[in-house]
Amino acid sequence: MGLLSDPSRRKVLTGLLTRLNTPICIVCYLAGIVWFMGLAFEPFTLRTYMSENAMGSTMVEERFSSGERALSLAKEFDAHKRKAGGMPVEWLVKAMQSRGLEVFTQSFSRKLPFPDENKERYMVRGTNVYGILRAPRAPRTEALVITAPCSPGNTNNQAVALLLALAQYFRNQIYWAKDIIFLVNEHDLIGTQAWLEGYHHTNITEYISGSLRGRAGSIQAALSLELSSDVITSLDLVLEGLNGQLPNLDLANLFYAFCQKLGVLCTIQGKLQRNDWDTAEGYTHAAQTMMLMVLKQACGRSWGDHGLFLRYHIEAASVRGINSFRHYKTDATTIGRLLEGMVRKLNNLLERLHQSYFFYLLPSLSRFVSIGYYMPAFGLLAVILLLRALDLWVHLGAPALAAVDGVTEAEQPSSPGVLTVLTPVVISHLTGVALYLLPVHLQEMAVEHFPVSETEAVVLTAIAIYTAGLALPHNTQRLLSGEGTEQGWKVLKLTALLYLAVLLGCTALINFSLGFILAVTLVPITASITPALYALVMVLLSPAFTILYCVFIYQELIEAPVSVSEGWMLFLSVISQGILDHALYGSLVYPLLALFIYPCWLMFWNILFWN
């Protein structure tokens, strides 16, 4: 700071920064990428460790033994599910009651804004069944939740059955200090959302749901269980929740600790851990795992039932059984024991999980990258925007400083600038608002006039508005002032750069992955933009194409590569899912992209057609 308060040194410094601006920016960008990729390298990461005392030192003994009974129960449940053609509510109520739980049901309905073609649903009507195990001598102030979605078809029967078996076993134990809620929800996330909104008496997403009768105080933690076969080979832990929120790292540590204890293979992002970090394969494996996490987190959707709990400050994770036909098998009893151990340790908690990290990336289950390590990668990218802005500021200010009689001269060129900057800003944002509002509201009109389904109508309208937005500023500019000045686009660029820096900074604070991915694609093009740049490059690095690339990279990483046409179809479904997630669960990625990132990008696009 002493440097800056000395005018001569300040001059030297700014001179240096403007002279070496481009090389510094390039170095920063490369350093940012390298830093990020380095995060997956094992020597640079930390081992996970249990921070919570209440869960660390107190060992529990697992005695659950009715795994076989759970499997036969699964068959019974399956039969009743088939007979009822959906959730067998009455059977579940009876089953829970006979196990000594207080049972309640909640019915809900929700009309989707447009049909969801992936899951084939539009008018959703369902019932959640939940039973509360009242802890002895506890005043109903704290609770834990175990949930198993009742999915259509043949899936997840085992999870529901294991839930019931656990309920029966837990009911006979005296050591519970927190009430335990066993929730079987219908229509996966929609059911969970309806239940959570009912429990907390909120209404964020226009569900029509019956009020809940039975409650058990503030929920401390939740586990979601998904099992679809009698024998599984590994358990996968899913952490990514709504808007990229993650549960406390101790929950992941707890899962890992019990997998180690019981000898269960555990994966994250479906990838097993490898021990050969010093080989190229080992590193690529870790990098792929981390990249998958970044991509999943960035898309801001809930990757399991647990994701919706995070909004209510309830630490939650999904445990997903995977049967990948390896020869290593784990039976239902072991999974039951694993859950028993986890629930008992959560039951021992004296406070909410808060000791460990909330912001982290996992290159494997036993290694983590904390916020302090990954933020510099983003910082290096974001500083480019600031450096370019500084450069522009100096360039814009230089002639004004040169003028001897100061203030009036400096004001002169910028006064037309206000309008030249304001017009594109307003127009871009109006386009953003249109992109946000019109696809859902215009679907009926679109269906009338074009031979497409509602879902296609929404997605295609969105793409159409997006494309139309590219033409719009170009025309208005010519209409308004005819010829743009050099000064004009520089002021606009300066504004847009600072705007983008603030946007990305805020995004990265909440959802690092989203901020980083946007920064990787947006920063180079926005930093180097001049009216002379090729429009094609600009388009290829636009937010929509970023999504497209992410789709391809994701498919590549989960080892299911797709062709271009399949990728395109996936891209369309990702857009529709994004809009649906926003409407159904309140995910903020779609509004962020439509209302802020896209308009910001349009401002840069405007510069391209300045003359």
Partner: protein, 640 residues
């Protein structure tokens, strides 16, 4: 209250006159005996109906013998009384255990121990130094702090009204203390402060955490239960500690207050390893002045010690619907407390007239009927003062074997629950839901809420809705909180429409505490005590307004003023609310970082923004400066 008083005395007069007409007995106690007999006579046809095997003459014979035995006992006490001063002449101790098999398969055991201390408590300045049955520690407390009435309860667990029905004496989770002081006390707050500290020592509880920030003075919800027409709530103090944990260290001092300790009588069953292996445990001490006789010519202190416990079907009963005294308490009964004038075990068999729901052994011919909580209940009575109760084995081990299958939820007439709505750490909403399940009667309830100051209530957001319509309370008493000094107190009289759900909501903002005000476990959350719903619920049967001693203890705690309704108090769950909490795990780092950021970042930016810069003269080279120094000394013009 005055009306109540009038009503009570009127009732007494009526009873007395009827008794006088009926028999010419020499003492009032005998009169009681008579009424008891009368009741059992009226019960006789019912007994025969329910259990044909019992011969009427056998019954009569037993009854005759029991009266003899009691007369003997009374004679014995009289002879001993002759030696003691007249003031302690009529001290009395009764013990009672009620066992109620619950619908859910659980079992509810309620102990009541009643000690009467015949002393003139209303005389100011009188020092009482003679204690016979009454515990001295409490007696001294009463006289030192001029306590008129004292109610203290320690509860671990929450009473599940939907499964268990109403308890005999309700209590909120944690500790509850409410005290009426004599109206001669000038410094009520000072007395209260000292009293809580003393009680804290007596009961080994954290009652010393009761201070002005969690004490309120309810204006209507807590009326004196004993004699006296005190209605000025300035002399009332009420506080709860919802976080208080009850364990053996609270049970032991409680047991020590009993005349027989835990050596004999029903108290031998009170073994902590079983009592705390239960779903619900509540122990209480109630002290109040009562009338010694129907005319209220002499008054006495009544000390009621109650202990309620619910054993769980699954965890304590191993899933088998079979209960016995031994299974519940790991003890059996062998004798009554020798100091007790009555010692009885009641088993509720109302739901089991034909023995189809459960089987009770050993069978007892003695039946008793009592009107409890608006319902006429039938009880099998085991009188421990008689030798034949214990049978050949000289021990009584009651056995209850279930045959039926229960389990559905009950629909109690009045039921309340509470929860916090919303998410995030800034605001929230407290919802209190009160159910009136009476099919056609509306009745008013008094709702009392005491909310700590760190939840800042927005009282303008208070809404009361029944059947989705606004329900305007007819009486609202609201005392806003003062930060760090006093909690919110909200009392409302709400009319509950028949068969309805009434929802009371009020929004609040969570305060940011000072960093020293957080508890050692701030992320656990902060407790808000239960709200209290007090109501006169319409009764299904005529209530017994005869407030005399011939009823079992469990049915005579709360005075009944009218026949058509009975008094019920329902406590809701306490709330656990998270407040915005700083990260205490690394305070040093936080402090250092914050200070650095403020010092370096803010300071220098402020400096940069406020300072005006001027280009100063470039400083001279060292050689020139030296030369100038010499020139100055010489007085020659300086170089530039």
């Amino acid at each position: 209250m005055a009306a109540h008083r009038c009503g009570l005395s009127l009732v007494f007069i009526l009873i007395f006159s009827s008794l006088a007409c009926h028999s010419s007995c020499d003492s009032l106690e005998n009169a009681n005996e008579d009424t008891e007999e009368k009741q059992s006579v009226s019960d006789t046809p019912r007994e025969v109906n329910s259990d044909g095997s019992i011969a009427a003459e056998d019954l009569n014979e037993r009854r005759g013998r029991s009266t003899d035995a009691e007369l003997d006992r009374r004679d014995g006490t009289r002879t001993s009384e002759a030696l003691t001063p007249a003031a302690a002449a009529r001290d009395e101790f009764q013990e009672e255990l009620v066992i109620r098999p619950l619908h859910s398969g659980d079992i509810y055991a309620s102990f009541q121990f009643r000690t009467l201390w015949d002393t003139d408590f209303l005389q100011e300045g009188q020092k009482v130094s003679h204690y016979r049955l009454f515990p001295k520690s409490l007696g001294q407390v009463l006289s030192k702090f001029s306590v008129r009435e004292l109610h203290i309860s320690f509860t671990q667990g929450f009473w599940r009204t939907m499964q268990w029905g109403q308890p005999f004496i309700p209590s909120p989770p944690g500790a509850e203390l409410w005290v009426w002081f004599h109206d001669t006390v000038s410094d009520v707050d000072g007395n209260w402060k000292e009293l809580t500290n003393v009680l804290s020592g007596i009961f080994c509880a954290s009652l010393n955490f009761i201070d002005l920030t969690n004490t309120v003075q309810p204006s209507a919800s807590f009326k004196p239960l004993g004699l006296g027409n005190a209605t000025d709530h300035r002399f009332l103090r009420y506080a709860t500690l919802p976080r208080e944990i009850v364990c053996t260290e609270n049970l032991t001092p409680w047991k020590k207050l009993l005349p027989c300790g835990s050596k004999a009588g029903l108290a031998v069953l009170l073994k902590s390893e079983k009592l705390f292996h239960s779903s619900f445990h509540s122990q209480a001490v109630h002290i109040r002045p009562v009338c010694q006789d129907e005319q209220c010519t002499s008054k006495a202190w009544e000390l009621r010690q109650t202990l309620n416990v619910v054993f769980d079907l699954y965890t304590a009963g191993q899933g088998k619907k079979e209960w016995s005294l031994f299974k519940m308490f790991s003890r059996t009964l062998t004798e009554a407390c020798p100091l007790a004038t009555s010692s009885k075990v009641y088993v509720d068999i109302t739901d089991n007239p034909e023995g189809e729901l459960f089987e009770l052994s050993p069978a007892t011919p003695l039946l008793s009927q009592a009107v409890v909580l608006g319902d006429r209940r039938t009880y099998s009575v085991f009188d421990l003062t008689r030798a034949e109760t214990f049978g050949q084995l000289r021990s009584l081990n009651l056995l209850l074997r279930w045959k039926g299958d229960g389990g559905e939820m009950l629909r109690p007439l009045l039921h309340a629950e509470r929860y916090v709505a919303g998410f995030g750490l800034q605001t929230g909403e407290i919802h209190t839901v009160i159910y009136n399940n009476h099919p056609y009667r509306a009745f008013p309830v008094l709702l009392m809420d005491s909310v700590p100051w760190y939840l800042q209530l927005y009282i303008h957001t208070l809404t009361v809705t029944s059947k989705s319509r606004d329900n305007k309370p007819s009486y609202i008493h609201y005392q806003p909180a003062k930060d760090r000094h006093r909690p919110h107190l909200l009392e409302m009289l709400i009319q509950l429409p028949p068969h309805s759900m009434t929802e009371v909501t009020v929004q609040f903002e969570r305060a940011l505490l000072k960093w020293t005000e957080y508890t050692p476990d701030p992320n656990h959350g902060f407790y808000v005590g239960s709200s209290v719903v007090s109501a006169l619920v319409p009764s299904m049967v005529a209530m017994n307004t005869n407030f005399t001693q011939d009823q079992p203890l469990f049915s005579s705690f709360v005075p009944v003023k009218e026949e058509s309704s009975y008094f019920v108090r329902v406590y809701t769950e306490p709330l656990l609310v998270n407040l915005p909490t700083p990260d205490f795990s690394m305070p040093y780092n936080v402090i250092c970082l914050t200070c650095t950021v403020v010092a370096v970042g803010y300071g220098s930016f402020y400096n940069l923004l406020t300072r005006t810069f001027q280009v100063d003269e470039p400083s001279l080279p060292l050689a020139k400066r030296l030369a100038n120094l010499i020139r100055r000394i010489r007085g020659v013009p300086l170089l530039t």
